[in-house]
Amino acid sequence: MRLSSGKILHAIGLTAVILFTLFPFYWMVSASFKTQSDILASPPVWLFAPTLDHYREIFADSKVLGAVGNSLIIATATTALAVMLGAPAAFALARYEFRGKSDLWFWFISNRMKSPIVLALPVYILALQLKMLDTHLVLILIYLTFNLPIVVWICTDQFKSIPPDLEQAARLDGADQFTIFRKIYLPLGAPGIAVSAIFSFIFSWNELLYALVLTRRDVQTAPVVATSFMSGYELPWGKIMATGTVIVLPVTIFALIVSRHMVRGLTMGATK
């Protein structure tokens, strides 16, 4: 089989894309396996004897473990709440016509655009007054401001695709709307609910600004702790990169699971 020049160019182009997207990620992961002197080497070392020291260090570091635990608690709790509150709202938006529906819909979407700094200021003052600074709860609640719209959007889309005949049949059997939601929409909409939950988890896990200003010592999240290592005279690069890898790895796996829906999740469905 002869390869045409077009095919070769195509292959080179695709390889370049893969190298471009993976390189920074690869560079972080490889640094996490390098000794400090290999990291500080100039020119950079491409082949090196890998070490697990930095991972041993962070898995023995209660600060890192605690931060990962906090991130896990917060992201899981906020996701659970977002689904519990968002799925019923999505059901109403998908199945009913009522006044103000489109305004409500747009209000949900416009939350996607808002800068977190706008809410961080007042929420900081309110949390200070309510003695809620540095608690899991304040982050769990504030993360709902971006998770809830995501869940509502994706679930509405999913629920709309469920054929109405099923509902008609259930109605004839005398099922009320709450039963229909529980017995038909929740199980059949499960794929969409799962996708929205994964997005909600990724966004909460990745968040830095709110976590930075609303926590002190007790509930610092993983990104906050990772960035806190970035001070001092000689930076512990290997430890920082190992922490970075540990933070990024789970969400990357999640993102690969929902990769087909990535565009929908990030645009709130403006493009199908």
Binding site: P24, A31, T145
Partner: protein, 304 residues
């Protein structure tokens, strides 16, 4: 019983009344109201007060529009908005152009395995924790051992003090943003390209062998909605941009990377002048609301 034909038959038993959607919506709406709207109103009120928590003895008196007049005459605030705009017009053309090229590569027939691999790897930058993107940037653009300088060296260009110089730092955050968001553009364009009906594409291919004519006359109409979405979404995202830049440069050196969200954060949480910061945040919110109105008007036309 007469009634509109199009409405489904509504039985007057439990769970079918006109209040039913209300019960399903109430928990979500109420929650968003408490955690979203109420703090926003609180921020508006704060923006009319002197509210410096580093000086609690001054109290928090109402001072009318004073915060707004001081923000609107604050050249640093305008400079941060201007810098944000400059960042936007720098990253966007590159992201759109590269994204389109990648989308075309992925749309082309053949190279099945490499193509699906590339398609999957595009998700990696998008999922990478923004703060960690900043950490990676610190490593790559390090003056002494960063791999960026090694690349420059290969190209015969001298080493740069990336994060220590004004232009270098701006370039560094631009490059990291391009890395993270080009895949987003690529995926949106790819979705657009896959909407072009196969037979039209085939017919056009018989007419012309020019890729450019193909793109301009056949594919472009299908790419336009995605492009519009990108222009608007990325503008909102750049106004939000905080994590990556904060970790990489803290807005410095000087004010070289002092984007608007970074600046407001500093006024609020470093200087603790929450009154002024709130006024700035409200102005930012107004800009954002205008952008999302535009987004909705342009892209959700069919809903109304």
């Amino acid at each position: 019983m007469p009634g509109p034909v199009s409405k489904p038959h509504i039985r007057p038993n439990r769970g079918y009344g006109r209040w039913t959607p209300f019960w399903f919506l109430a928990p979500a709406v109420l929650t968003l109201f408490i955690i979203g709207i109420y703090p926003t109103i609180f921020a508006v009120v704060t923006s009319f007060r002197r509210y410096n928590i580093a000086r609690p003895r001054d109290g928090f008196p109402f001072i009318g529009l004073e915060n707004y007049t001081s923000v609107l005459t604050d050249s640093t605030f305008w400079a941060s908005l201007f810098l944000t705009a400059k960042f936007y017009v720098t990253v966007l053309p590159v992201e759109v152009a590269l994204g389109l090229m990648i989308a075309l590569l992925l749309h082309k027939t053949g190279m099945g395995f490499l193509k699906s691999l590339a398609r999957v790897t595009l998700v990696v930058p998008l999922a990478t924790t923004y703060a960690v993107v900043g950490l990676i940037g610190r490593l790559i653009f390090n003056r002494d051992f960063g791999v960026a300088n090694w690349f420059l060296d290969r190209l015969g260009i001298g080493a740069l003090d990336w994060l220590g110089s004004q232009t270098g730092a701006f370039a560094a955050i631009v490059i990291m943003d391009i890395w993270q968001w080009t895949p987003f553009c690529a995926l949106i364009f790819l979705a657009g390209l896959s909407m072009v009906p196969g037979e039209i594409e085939e017919a056009a291919r018989l007419e012309t062998s020019s890729k450019w004519a193909m793109l301009k006359h056949v594919q472009l109409p299908y790419l336009m909605p995605g492009l519009t979405a990108l222009l608007i979404l990325r503008s909102a995202d750049v106004l939000k941009l905080f994590d990556m830049v904060f970790v990489m440069t803290r807005g410095g050196p000087g004010s070289a990377t002092d984007l608007v969200s970074i600046y407001i954060q500093r006024v609020g949480f470093r200087i603790f002048d929450l009154g002024t910061a709130s006024a700035q945040a409200i102005l930012l919110l107004i800009i954002t609301i205008l952008i999302s109105r535009l987004y909705i008007r342009v892209l959700y036309k069919e809903v109304n």
